[in-house]
Amino acid sequence: MSQVSFEVDFECHERLLNIPRFAPGSTVHGVYRLTIAKPIRCRSAELRFGWHTEGKGDRDEGIIESRPLSPDALVPGRTLSDRFIFTLPHEPWSYSGHYISIVWSVSVWFDYSLRRDITEHAPFIMAPD
C-alpha cells in the first residue's frame, strides 16, 4: 500500500487523451488532495508546479513554483486539501518523442534523509492549439 494518495482536480474545459490541456502562458487553477495512508517521517515536503524530462536521458526539471507543506501536517488518515493557482510560462511545451518526453505536472515531493525521495505526480499537458 502506498504511503500517500495524491489527486488533483484541474479546472479545465479542454482535455487531450483525457489529460487536462492548458495553453502556454495561461493560468492553471485546481484543487489538490493529499491523503496520508502511513506515517511519513521526512525532512520536508513540498507541492511543486513544473516540468521534468523522462526517457533515455538523465532527468532534467524546471520548477515554476513550489509551496512547502508542513511535515507535522502529514498525519496518517488525514487529507490535506487546498486550491492552487499558478501561471504557466510559454515554454517548454509538453512533448513525447522517441528518446525524450517533457512532462508537466503538479506534484508532491517528500525529502527523506536516509532513503530515496518520494514524488507523486498529477500530469497535465501544456501545448498551444
Binding site: T53, G55, K56, G57, D58, G62, W93, G97, H98, P128
Partner: protein
C-alpha cells in the same frame, strides 16, 4: 538572406582548426575512422620503438634507458602524426576539388507553420557531374545519460521533409545552386535545450558527385521558437 552556420564550422569558431577538419571528416567520410586507426597505430609504434630502444641499449651497450619523458613524447607524437597527416591531406585535396558549400536561408528563427526558403551554393574547382542534391528538415532528439562512470549520448532524428533536386554537369569554376522551401509543421515542437536532453532542428544537405569525395554532407541548425 542570412547565411546559416554549418555544424562543422563550430570547430572553426572555437579557434581549433583541427576540430573543424575532424568534424567535416566525421560528417563526410570514413577518413575519420582512418584518423582514429592511425592514431592507435602511431601510439603503438611509438611504444614498441621505445621498448626496442630500451631492450637494445640494455642488452648491448649498457646505455642508460631513455626517460619516461621520451617515452610519452614518442607515444603521443606517434598518435598525433598520423591524424595530422591524414587530416591535412584530406582537407587539401578537398579544397582542390571544391569550396565548402554555403546555405542561405530566409530566416534562422522560425515558428510553427512558417516557410523556410533555402539556397544552396557550391563552387567546384574541377569539371564534375552533380548527380543530385538532397535537403532534409530534421528534428533531432539528443539524450545524455550516465552509466556508471561513462557518459553516453544517443541521438534520434525525425525526418520532417525531404527535397531532392536534380543535378547537372559543371565545368571548372562553376557554382552549383539549388533552392528549396520547407514548412515547419503546424504541430511541430520548438527547439529545447536542457542539461541532459535537447531537441534541435537542422537543415541537412547531401550532394552526390561523380568524382571524389563522391558525396558531401553538411548540417545547418535553425531555431524553432515557441513564440508568445
Amino acid at each position: 538572406m542570412p547565411e546559416l552556420v554549418p555544424h562543422s564550422s563550430l570547430g572553426n569558431r572555437s579557434g581549433l582548426k583541427w576540430l573543424e577538419v575532424f568534424m567535416l571528416m566525421r560528417e563526410n567520410s570514413v577518413a575519420a575512422k582512418a584518423v582514429v586507426v592511425t592514431a592507435i597505430i602511431g601510439a603503438l609504434a611509438g611504444f614498441f620503438f621505445h621498448a626496442c630502444v630500451i631492450m637494445s641499449s640494455v642488452a648491448v651497450c649498457n646505455v642508460p634507458c631513455p626517460g619516461f619523458l621520451l617515452f610519452f613524447l614518442l607515444v603521443i607524437g606517434g598518435a598525433a602524426i598520423g591524424p595530422v597527416i591524414i587530416g591535412t591531406t584530406w582537407m587539401n585535396r578537398l579544397k582542390q576539388a571544391m569550396d565548402l558549400p554555403r546555405l542561405n536561408a530566409s530566416a534562422e528563427r522560425l515558428r510553427r507553420g512558417d516557410t523556410l526558403d533555402v539556397t544552396y551554393t557550391h563552387l567546384f574547382h574541377q569539371q564534375i557531374e552533380v548527380y543530385g542534391l538532397q535537403l532534409t528538415l530534421v528534428l533531432e532528439e539528443v539524450a545524455t545519460y550516465t552509466r556508471g562512470t561513462d557518459t553516453v549520448t544517443e541521438r534520434h532524428e525525425h525526418v520532417m521533409q525531404t527535397v531532392d533536386l536534380p543535378g547537372r554537369t559543371l565545368w571548372d569554376g562553376e557554382t552549383f545552386t539549388g533552392r528549396a522551401s520547407f514548412t515547419i509543421p503546424p504541430d511541430a515542437m520548438h527547439t529545447f535545450e536542457s542539461k541532459n536532453n535537447k531537441l534541435r532542428w537542422w537543415v541537412k544537405t547531401e550532394i552526390r558527385l561523380s568524382k571524389w569525395p563522391n558525396t558531401f554532407a553538411e548540417s545547418y541548425q535553425i531555431v524553432v521558437e515557441a513564440g508568445a
